[in-house]
């Protein structure tokens, strides 16, 4: 156990450092930190002095190390566009993105997994075939188009739900939540559905194909040959074995929800980090891009670690050594 987790942790650190390297290169070489800080009338000497003071003449590795240390403390410098610390900007917008992502994750999992199991078990049923057809349409609908259609139907034609913003929020001091007000909840419905729909169809199709794979194995055949009822065969033996591969890929998919939130936030003008990032790209606001990148990498690493631990809990082959005899 310890070696397995240790190995994973080491790998995670490596991922984070690689991403930090990319972010740092962006920061240092794509944008020009000096230009962003000074006015037009600064002399070359002043620029040189500032450069020296900021340590921009230090060796690459020193600068990189300083960047990593700062980043670990949440220090990413000033946004070129907003003229405010990036950490502040992100902290403001983090709750909006996380609330949207988590609600969508729960929605996607709660619907996707049971539908996947159902379509695998009733492979030739009418409902299962309908699910499969609809899911293919779901995979073929770009997220932004789903959002637009929902806006058109529920916002423009029916006028039932708000189509932009986050509604009224409650400030808890360290967190602003939209989950406690009626307008906040209403505003969440369309974006959450938009974000969840694509992931849900993916999860459903994945669970289905993995489960079909498991249902073809010898041990399922042997379980049936022992006269075990379908309930036991399907849920105790097949589903549990399906979960092993599903957990990994679902983990990755859920991570990508945070990235797909960029699109959803853009469609619904949701005041989250994704919207900030998209604006940063259009205006080449490098510190914001770098910080966002590091933050996303951090989330991914966390999700992957959770996935590994779950894996460990489910699969005894990782837990218990092979003692042949």
């Amino acid at each position: 156990m310890p070696t397995f987790i240790l190995k994973r942790l080491l790998q995670s650190v490596l991922v984070i450092l690689t991403v930090a390297l990319i972010a740092f290169s962006l920061f240092r070489y794509v944008g020009d930190p000096i230009n962003a800080m000074v006015g037009q009338d600064t002399t070359l000497a002043q620029r040189e002095e500032l450069k020296e003071r900021l340590g921009l003449n230090d060796p690459f590795i020193v600068q990189y190390a300083r960047f990593v240390v700062n980043a670990a403390q949440g220090e990413f410098g000033m946004s070129y566009r907003h003229r405010r610390p990036v950490s502040e900007l992100l902290a403001e917008r983090l709750p909006a993105t996380l609330e949207l992502s988590i609600v969508s994750m729960v929605l996607a999992l709660a619907l996707g997994v049971p539908m996947g199991v159902y379509t695998a078990l009733k492979r030739n049923g009418v409902l299962a075939k309908t699910f499969m057809t609809v899911s293919l349409v779901g995979v073929s609908l770009p997220t932004f188009l789903i959002g637009i259609l929902l806006i058109l139907v529920f916002g423009v034609w029916l006028r039932w739900l708000p189509t932009f913003g986050r509604g009224a929020v409650v400030d808890l001091g360290w967190w602003t939540t939209g989950l406690l007000t009626k307008s906040g909840l209403q505003a969440l419905i369309l974006p959450a559905i938009t974000l969840a729909l694509f992931q849900m169809t993916l999860i459903m199709r994945l669970v289905r194909s993995e489960m079909l794979e498991v249902l073809r194995t010898d041990f399922i055949k042997f379980a049936r040959a022992r006269g075990l009822p379908d309930r036991l065969v399907n849920f105790r033996h097949a589903l549990k074995n399906t979960l092993v591969p599903v957990i990994t890929i679902t983990g990755l998919q859920l991570g990508s929800i945070i990235a797909f939130a960029i699109i959803t936030e853009s469609v619904f003008q949701w005041p989250g980090m994704g919207l900030l990032f998209i604006q940063a790209i259009s205006t080449v606001d490098i510190p914001v891009m770098a910080a966002y990148l590091c933050l996303i990498a951090f989330f991914f690493v966390i999700i992957n670690l959770v996935v590994d631990l779950l894996y460990f809990a489910v699969d005894p082959r990782l837990r218990v050594g092979r003692a042949l005899g």
Partner: protein, 309 residues
């Protein structure tokens, strides 16, 4: 003799399970036809489009905001209506699909060449080379393709002078989408190459004395192309979606050469004033295209892997 062989091959193809599964699946036939029609229409856009949406001289502001022909106030000259500048939506769609397909195909080709190449080397050579390539793949896989494409686009914007960006935007886009997709090919091909290279026919070739490059090219590559074809088909759908998404977000193709995603973005601004057709028609074409490519990919995967049914 050669034509005898050809006819034998043709007969074998007509008799094959692949053709049989195609012939007996109406959904597949319909999606193949839809794809063909859309691709043909996009290619022939300059010929069949009723108007040239880029010819500013032909635009008439009087025609702006016309609804489709079956709605009250629609005109026969603009069957799917016009946008805010009086551009014919149908023509814009035809030209837009051209850009979407071009970017989609080009990025897939780029991904395939990169991914298959690295995957083959990784799987056959193994050792350190394999470790390095696969670590890079792991790190990249931690990030969704769309984010990587966005990032590359952002970097390109930062590095290139503003006026130059418009010219090379299309190449940047192909590069961004292509780079973000190679990992899946590399992983699949690597896995398949490792399986194949352990098979006895490869060992037999090695015993004969055939060199590693020839073995890769003549023996292993043809045997890993099946899964690559399946991924490429599904990837084409993803690439088209990614391009549309980037264009919708305003970081894709420049507005001078609008793709389907750009059209949807432009139309989105008029959604609330009730001019839904500017958005919805390009959207429908996009979904039709992606859906039929996805259906083809699904069929291909099942047909090449019969045990999955």
């Amino acid at each position: 003799m050669p034509d005898l062989r050809l006819s034998a091959r043709l007969r074998a193809a007509a008799d094959s399970d692949l053709w049989y599964s195609f012939r007996t699946s109406p959904v597949t036939i319909v999606s193949a036809l839809t794809t063909l029609v859309l691709v043909a229409a996009a290619l022939a856009a300059p010929v069949i489009a009723p108007h040239n949406p880029f010819d500013l001289a032909s635009l008439n502001i009087m025609n702006a905001g016309l609804p489709p022909v079956w709605d009250a106030g629609g005109e026969a000259a603009f069957p799917l209506g016009t946008d805010d500048q009086g551009r014919d939506v149908l023509s814009a769609i035809l030209y837009g699909a051209r850009i979407s397909l071009l970017v989609g195909f080009a990025s897939v080709v780029f991904s395939v060449v990169l991914g298959v190449g690295l995957g083959l080397v990784s799987g056959y050579v193994g050792g350190r080379v394999d470790a390095v390539i696969m670590r890079i793949a792991d790190v990249q896989l931690s990030f969704p393709a769309i984010l990587i494409a966005l990032l590359i686009d952002g970097v390109a914007r930062g590095l290139l002078p503003h006026d130059m960006h418009g010219e090379v935007a299309l190449y940047v886009l192909v590069f961004a989408i292509g780079i973000s997709g190679w990992v899946q090919y590399a992983r699949t091909v690597r896995g398949a190459a490792m399986v194949e290279s352990r098979k006895e026919y490869v060992q037999a070739a090695r015993i004969i004395g055939i060199g590693p490059m020839t073995i890769l090219w003549r023996h292993i590559l043809p045997n890993v192309m099946g899964p690559v074809l399946v991924i490429a088909t599904i990837h084409l759908a993803i690439a088209i979606i990614t391009e549309a998404t980037l264009s919708f977000l305003g970081v894709g193709v420049p507005p001078t050469t609008p793709s389907l995603g750009t059209l949807i973005r432009i139309g989105n601004d008029y959604l609330f004033s009730g001019e839904w057709w500017i958005t919805i028609f390009p959207g429908i074409v996009l979904v039709l295209l992606v859906l039929s490519v996805n259906l083809l990919g699904d069929w291909l995967r099942d047909a090449l892997n019969p045990k999955l049914r």
